[in-house]
């Protein structure tokens, strides 16, 4: 099974290298089929203009059946964007990373979705339960069960047991 995930990732990597990333996204590091880093930048007019963030993908052997663990890098002086769906520890509350993940999505598709999520933000603010969440958050964002609510920024998050 592991070979399927690596073959699929190898295909995606080959595509990225041959066709390039969409504007504002670039591959930073992909040394293996476990962890990839991308830089992501919102192009055009937005509250994040000129800011570059680093996005980390972690894949398990069940990718693409199971979603990748995606979060913003908050170490080495890097920061997560201030966004009502992004916790200060870099965890992202986005439905496509949780129960709306589909195996037909790809790394680039996730990057583009997150880029547009940032671009559509009008006001920089942290999620309302940021402090509570960050205090108890698991290391892997996939272990969090987010309750998605697009209209209001009131997310509840529960932690899954291992």
């Amino acid at each position: 099974m592991a070979s399927i995930s690596s073959r699929r990732l190898a295909k995606e990597l080959r595509e990225i290298q041959s066709e390039g990333c969409p504007v504002g996204i670039s591959l930073l590091e992909a040394n293996d089929f476990a962890k990839w880093l991308f830089t992501i930048e919102v192009m055009g007019d937005s509250v994040y203009q000129g800011e570059v963030y680093t996005l980390q993908f972690r894949f398990d052997s069940h990718y693409p059946i199971s979603s990748p663990a995606v979060q913003f890098v908050v170490t080495d002086g890097k920061e997560a964007p201030i966004h009502p769906h992004v916790y200060s520890n870099g965890h992202i509350c986005a439905s496509i990373l949780g129960n709306e993940w589909s195996p037909v999505l790809s790394v680039i598709a996730v990057c583009v979705t997150l880029q547009s999520m940032l671009a559509s933000c009008k006001k920089k603010e942290r999620p309302t339960d940021n402090d509570r969440y960050v205090r108890n958050a698991p290391e892997n964002p996939k272990k969090t069960l987010f309750h998605y609510d697009g209209e209001h920024y009131n997310f509840k998050s529960t932690y899954l047991q291992d």
């Binding site: 399927i4 073959r7 699929r8 295909k11 059946i65 709306e100 195996p103 037909v104």
Partner: protein, 431 residues
């Protein structure tokens, strides 16, 4: 599994959107008609029970086999042997590759199945190493190899001996032996026939060439005939009943006879019908006999018959098949079908106009006649009146003379005489 490397670029429509590789055992959802590898979709469904493409609810029971065409398309993609890195350059259709790996590939892992002391050896190695392993470990193949090498030696020596064949072997000399061609040829019976064979061969090749040319010609001619026949059929279809081959024209009189007798029978049966009804009865019966003859012809009798004024079924049938030259009189078969139809349409319109004007003229004549009659009636009435007045006058005179005679004869009073005279007068005037 999508483990193969594909030789050619893959059509994106043939790739599973889960593993991004050409479909393996393609499976289609019955609910939304998306196609995936059987394995991919089953694993995706075990994770989330919805279609990965459109997220509609989906259960493993909603999956069905894909159209066989798609299956063949992916099964026939060319793949490299999985041991290419080890040196196997084998490339085949994907559906054949498992057989290659199982039975042929020298680089594939195999297990030694040799049994020794009731135990299976079981050690695994590449197929190319299996023989050496069995020889070394199990002592197999040695005898066979000896036999093989012996066999090789024998054939080698035989080949050395039977090296020479006659140069005329191609024309039938069966000689094959140790003699050099120079030693064999003087005694070879085919040597003397050499000249005959040469000329014969030249003739044969010439004939073959001509045959080829002729065959080509026949092919082209057949093609042309085919084309012509096609065009002919198209023309026939376009002409419909106007088409008349020379064969049909020749055989028409016979048909005409049959049709005539039929038409005659109809004519006898319907002899009490008005003459003008008969073409309508006879028309379909004749049309049924000969489709290629104009079915409208019965409605357009020959002009001489029109002049004769007698339009009998038999004369009509004659006009249909036109004994002299077979041309239907008022219809000009020489023009195109469209032209004739146009002409017919025009004459129908003209006829309608004529009928219309005749009707109108009749009406006018009738009105005139009525007026004239009315006038005549008036004048007759006036004359009648004059006559009556004359009679009246005569009666008055007669009455007067009668009254005077009675008064003189009977001596009655003038009053009673006056009354009687009046009564008489009344009865007379009533005449």
């Amino acid at each position: 599994m999508s483990l193969y490397n594909y030789v050619d670029p893959i059509n994106a429509n043939l790739t599973c959107c889960i593993c991004r590789a050409p479909f393996t055992e393609p499976t289609t959802t019955l609910t939304c008609a998306h196609t995936f590898c059987a394995d991919c979709i089953l694993r995706a469904l075990s994770n989330a029970p919805s279609c990965p493409v459109d997220r509609t609810p989906l259960a493993p029971t909603d999956l069905g086999p894909v159209n066989p065409i798609v299956r063949s398309l992916v099964d026939e993609l060319r793949v490299e042997c999985v041991y290419k890195a080890d040196g196997c350059g084998y490339v085949s259709q994907r559906q054949v590759m498992p057989l290659h790996l199982r039975d042929e590939c020298d680089y594939a892992e195999v297990r030694c199945e040799e049994k020794e002391d009731g135990k299976t050896c079981g050690s695994s190695m590449r197929r190319m190493e299996l023989r050496a392993h069995q020889k070394k470990v199990h002592g197999l193949w040695e005898q066979e190899q000896e036999e093989e090498s012996l066999l090789f030696e024998e054939t080698d020596s035989e080949e050395a001996k039977e090296n020479h064949t006659c140069p005329h072997a191609s024309i039938g000399c069966p000689y094959s032996g140790p003699l050099e061609p120079s030693e064999h040829l003087p005694g070879c019976p085919y040597e003397s026939l050499k000249g005959f064979f040469t000329t014969n061969n030249a003739k044969m090749s010439l004939l073959t060439e001509q045959n080829m040319v002729l065959r080509h010609k026949v092919d082209t001619l057949e093609h042309t005939v085919h084309m012509l026949r096609k065009e002919m059929n198209a023309a026939k279809n376009a002409l419909g009943p106007w088409f008349r081959s020379s064969y049909q024209t020749m055989s028409l009189p016979a048909h005409g006879g049959v049709a005539r007798s039929i038409a005659g029978a109809v004519g006898v049966a319907s002899s009490d019908l008005p003459i003008r009804m008969q073409p309508a009865v006879a028309g379909p019966s004749t049309a049924g006999f000969e489709d290629s003859v104009d079915v409208l012809a019965p409605y357009f009798p020959a002009q001489d018959e029109m002049r004769r004024g007698r339009w009998t079924p038999s004369s009509m049938a004659d006009s249909v098949y036109g004994r002299a030259g077979g041309v239907v009189a008022p219809l000009d078969l020489g023009t195109t079908l469209e032209g004739t139809l146009e002409g017919l349409r025009e004459s129908v319109v003209g006829l309608a106009l004529g009928v219309d004007s005749v009707g109108r003229r009749g009406e006018i004549a009738l009105t005139n006649e009525t007026l004239r009659l009315g006038e005549e009636l008036m004048s007759v009435r006036a004359q009648m009146h004059g006559l009556r007045m004359q009679v009246h006058g005569m009666m008055m005179d007669r009455n007067a003379s009668l009254t005077m005679r009675e008064e003189a004869g009977a001596g009655m009073g003038p009053g009673g005489a006056y009354l009687r005279a009046h009564t008489n007068f009344g009865s007379i005037t009533k005449l």
